[in-house]
Symmetry: D2
Subunit: 150 residues, 4 copies
């Protein structure tokens, strides 16, 4: 993604800065425009499995993050999104270095959105592909819909 | 899972101790028997999204870990496993505290295995369900099959 | 599933009778209770792939049907359901004869439901497992939500 | 897909002609080249659900067919493929008329292949997207690997 929308990037960076998980996991915003978000992660020693390859859960996490934020760029004020289903195909093992997830919204409606993402390494090699199904809901309905027991 | 197989638990704990990612992520083995593995994670402030809920990627990671290790209990010596596809349904938001993923092998063959997992919180509430498709391969074929470009 | 709810079975049978696809595909209701539905299909020569095994698309179709109807047993009057995501693991090849899909609702909320199904042959052998994510919506919102272009 | 490979198209058409399921379901080959296959289905009254829309199982079936055949174009002589996992996102309802599934291989290795497909209607509207994970095996190992009980 070349360029992108500066206002969106700023908004997403603020969101990432306020989210403890992203700082811990080393996830940052690369670029964003309406319906598309790119996030990066610097893979270090902490992120490797016993074979010295990136744990698949991290590839899934990076893809899930990018897809959720891509859907967020499509939300109207007062709405929020919750990922309800995630699918990942692992295509090649990832090695230490920078990996990037590029997500785009495939379809977004008033109640449901679908997104997809590619996860690539610094050389452009495709490590994983992912799809997510996302529920869109009013902010005021968070508790009730996000947690059916409340 | 009550009890479990002590030898398996020891083997998996050794494996987890040797894997940098598990220490970093706070993942540990709870119990194991042939075809079934239970792993836990203490969810702290680092693992939360902007709403104060566990990031979905961590639920996916915990489930993926448990499923991979469950398949591992079925491998013959000289074999290894690679997760090639992961699916997760997010059912309820997770809050700080201990969460556990309980995985079992649904089918294992010479070339392919299928596993599934439940992710539950300390109160037994179901947070997520997951399924994985796993390739089984000879140790000596790692590089070639795990990475098609080599 | 033993027994079941006769009123639910009658309601679902009426629905199946009114749906051209089910007659064509040979799909019928076996049993139903709140949150659980079992449907059957007689696999004949028309349903086989070139190896003489049941085409995987039919196992997916049977599972999808059972899961959608299971969600339907949980709907309030004036609501309808639309499957938005389907996942299937194919575990064993199916051969001619009767196959059955047993579905249950894993979680149902006001906006989203999750279901799962086992597909088994007459001998009880597990042929496939499936999961679906389902949107629940008001009848009057059908067109708008089911079809974002309207 | 413009053009395509005539020899591949002929080979796949022969295969489709010999497969009872495809004739019954009304599925035919549109185009094929190495790693890409397009199949079509004429949706008639038999294929509709109670709302007059194409049953989602048929969209899944059409996608699965196209993806399996796309993988087949990459197989070496003496190999065969078995779909082991299928994922589908349903994006828009399908109406009577011609629908087409366009599949391509995302990655193919000696043991595992990944494919994806778009399902579109005659107006080019995207009805569904799908992904499959496919096991590749030697012809002589069919029974053992395709059916773990033998």
């Amino acid at each position: 993604m070349d360029g992108g929308d500066d206002r969106l990037v700023d908004d997403l960076r603020r969101r990432v800065d306020e989210t403890p998980f992203y700082g811990w996991a080393g996830i940052s915003i690369v670029s964003a425009r309406e319906g598309e978000v790119e996030v990066a992660m610097e893979v270090g020693a902490d992120h490797l499995n016993i074979q010295g390859l990136v744990h698949g859960g991290l590839l899934a996490t990076l893809a899930d993050t990018a897809m959720g934020l891509a859907v967020r760029t499509r939300l109207e004020p007062g709405s929020r999104h919750v990922t309800i289903q995630l699918g990942v195909q692992f295509l090649s093992p990832g090695r230490p270095g920078r990996i990037v997830a590029r997500a785009r919204v495939v379809r977004s409606g008033r109640q449901i959105a679908h997104a997809e993402a590619d996860v690539v390494d610094a050389g452009g090699k495709l490590l994983a592909r992912a799809q997510s199904t996302v529920a869109v809901m009013a902010e005021r309905e968070n508790a009730r819909i996000g947690d059916p027991d409340q």
